[in-house]
């Protein structure tokens, strides 16, 4: 009798658990909980902390933490260092993203075609993405170095420049900005290309065939058929790249440390130098989150457009 009872109850308990898994209103939160926890711990808390630091008087070596309102913002925004960095941030982010989107489109179109050794090219293309970025950038540091630059050695060997006319890639303001943008583009290109390639392969072949039969030229085909069809994915790639360029500083940190004379200083690197190396955590936090409202707005607008232009 007892065993019989237990036999009846055991499956019932199992069923109750199965029941939870069958109900979307329970299963959904259960499945997404780890991701939520992760984001709160790794992204949310530090972000809130930074937000609070930016309106406090925290600094390294002091134990008190007082609320000071917008004082940090008011004192840092008018400085010429900040103004230059703000300008540089926009130049850096926008120029590099325009280049990335154009180059990634060209590369993706080329990689869509069938040719011998295609997989080797794809692998090579992905290398900058899989290699640790600081290592890759150190490679570039050597390529662009004022004494060892292989570019200069090559140019001189071909007689294009003379020994005393060597460009100092990282030492001259415009060249330095050009160099950090180049390296940043080199670094983001693989991801953008792969994203666009995914978009391109999702277009049915018949659509391209129809455009060909309808007599579309290459440009008409590209800009009236292909680009509109991958617009949502293109916008997502652009959004990623923009936010990344606005907030990342690895390339600048390794190559120029913001120099010469702050001509490659961007807000992200300025925040780091002020807050971590300079010890003024509060001002660093203020610089770091200065662009946050703007990026939020950019993300919102892009995602709206992407959703509206979705085609199925």
């Amino acid at each position: 009798m007892a065993t019989l009872e237990r036999d009846l109850r055991a499956p019932a308990a199992g069923r109750r658990f199965g029941f939870v898994l069958d109900r979307p209103e329970w299963l959904g939160p259960l499945m997404i909980a780890p991701a939520v926890l992760y984001i709160v711990a790794i992204v949310g808390l530090p972000f809130l902390l930074a937000l609070y630091y930016s309106v406090s008087d925290i600094s390294m070596g002091r134990r008190t933490l007082g609320f000071v309102g917008l004082k940090n913002f008011i004192s840092v925004i008018p400085t010429s260092k900040f103004q230059t960095s703000l300008q540089n941030t926009f130049v850096f982010a926008i120029v590099s993203q325009v280049l990335v989107i154009i180059l990634a489109n060209i590369l993706a179109l080329a990689l869509l075609k069938e040719f011998r050794g295609k997989w080797v090219v794809r692998l090579l293309l992905l290398l900058p993405w899989v290699a640790p970025i600081s290592l890759g950038t150190i490679g570039w540091l050597w390529i662009l170095d004022s004494i060892y630059s292989v570019i200069n050695w090559t140019l001189e060997a071909f007689g294009l420049i003379t020994a005393d006319g060597w460009p100092m890639y990282l030492g001259k303001p415009y060249l330095a900005m050009g160099s950090v943008i180049t390296v940043h583009v080199w670094r983001l290109l693989p991801l953008a290309t792969v994203i666009i390639l995914a978009g391109l392969t999702s277009i049915p072949k018949d659509i391209h065939d129809a455009a060909q039969v309808d007599g579309a030229s290459f440009w008409r085909h590209h800009f009236q058929i292909t680009v509109p069809l991958i617009r949502p994915i293109l916008l997502v790639a652009l959004l990623f790249g923009l936010v990344f360029a606005f907030t990342d500083m690895v390339v600048i940190f390794v190559l120029t440390r913001g120099g010469p004379y702050d001509t490659t200083q961007v807000l992200a690197s300025l925040a780091f130098f002020t807050g971590i190396q300079g010890g003024d955590l509060a001002e660093g936090a203020a610089i770091a989150i200065f662009l946050f409202p703007l990026l939020l707005a950019v993300a919102f607008v892009f995602l709206r457009i992407a959703r509206r232009s979705e085609v199925t």
Binding site: A210, A211, V213, D214, G215
Partner: protein
């Protein structure tokens, strides 16, 4: 308007001989149907005519000119794809206008032409919609309108009706044929559906394994099949085949009737038919069973119109007969038609 000709056209994908030496010549303004089972190379052949696929060998001529090296846009063709391939991000108007714009038709003429093409297919009211807001039948019309709007010399259609439901397909077939007769443009139409082929085609080219088995009017390919493949592929149910010494003899199920149902007793070959099952299809009955006597255990099918009043019953053996002139003879090895002989 133009004549399309293929001369020994081949297309090999590695080991697969998708199209294996096809010689075809359309007539001016003709509706030519390419009919064959799935995978026989119909689409590949059509795509080569369109210029979307390069032939491995042979020549393609449109209007007497070899077009092998011309891109699709220079071939004066229009194609309708099985998937319709409408541009999903464009409204119907822009879909139809696209080929015009691509060909540099003056801007002012475009609305007029689009409306004309839309009018042909009764889709004037849909011009502002996106393809995803259309039903299957409407999409098919848009695809046709997009094809006619540039007034091409040749129409290429790849199973344009196969995505429609059965009822819509019948009416669309009708409209398509009337439309083609009206504009009189040479049309090559691909299908695997024999009913569609018989109903639409001026001539039918029956394909199998990358080759054309027979080309002729619907009546010719049905009544005088060139080989056992054509005999078996056309007609539903297919032709019955019996083995006699040194050849195969075939007869259509609708010619295999109870003895009394034949109008005259002359020239009949009597056969004993054991009926095992009867299928009622409304207008017809299909009788499944096997022959007895001279051809023991040969499975055959009889198709009786509902006008035949002779009683038939499953499980019984009855006297059936075929007129001798309805026999078709095929070589046992090659499957090709041979001369008639006594059965």
């Amino acid at each position: 308007m133009a004549i399309v000709e293929t001369r020994d056209v081949r297309k090999h994908f590695g080991d697969v001989h998708a199209v294996d030496g096809v010689n075809l010549t359309t007539k001016e303004g003709e509706f030519l149907v390419l009919l064959g089972p799935s995978g026989c190379g119909k689409t590949t052949l059509l795509r080569m005519v369109a210029g979307l696929e390069d032939p491995t060998g042979g020549e393609i001529l449109i209007g007497g000119q070899v077009v092998n090296d011309l891109p699709p846009r220079a071939r004066k063709i229009a194609m309708v794809f099985q998937s319709y391939a409408l541009y999903p991000h464009m409204r119907v108007f822009d879909n139809i206008a696209f080929p015009l714009r691509a060909q540099g038709v003056p801007r002012a003429e475009i609305p007029h032409k689009v409306e004309w093409a839309a009018g042909l297919f009764g889709i004037e009211k849909l011009l502002h919609r996106k393809p995803r807001e259309l039903s299957g039948g409407e999409r098919q019309r848009v695809a046709l309108a997009r094809a006619v709007v540039r007034e091409p010399a040749v129409f290429l259609l790849d199973e344009p009706l196969s995505n429609l439901d059965a009822k819509l397909r019948t009416s669309a077939r009708d409209e398509l044929q009337q439309f083609q007769r009206r504009i009189g443009t040479t049309t090559i139409y691909v299908t695997h559906d024999q009913v569609e082929a018989m109903g639409l085609g001026d001539r039918i080219a029956v394909m199998q394994g990358g080759k054309v088995r027979q080309i002729g009017t619907p009546q010719e390919v049905y009544d005088e099949p060139a080989d056992t493949f054509v005999a078996g592929f056309l007609g539903s149910p297919p032709m019955n085949l019996l083995e006699i010494p040194d050849c195969l003899v075939g007869f259509r199920p609708e010619h295999f009737l109870p003895k009394e149902a034949h109008e005259s007793r002359d020239g009949l070959l009597a056969l004993k038919f054991h009926i095992s099952r009867i299928e009622y299809l409304g207008a017809d009955r299909l009788l499944y069973g096997a022959l007895e006597g001279k051809f023991p255990d040969t499975k055959v099918i009889s198709k009786l119109a509902s006008t035949v009043s002779t009683p038939v019953q499953p499980g019984k053996t009855q006297d059936f007969a075929v007129r001798e002139k309805d026999f078709r003879f095929f070589d046992r090895e090659t499957g090709l038609r041979t001369r008639p002989r006594p059965v």
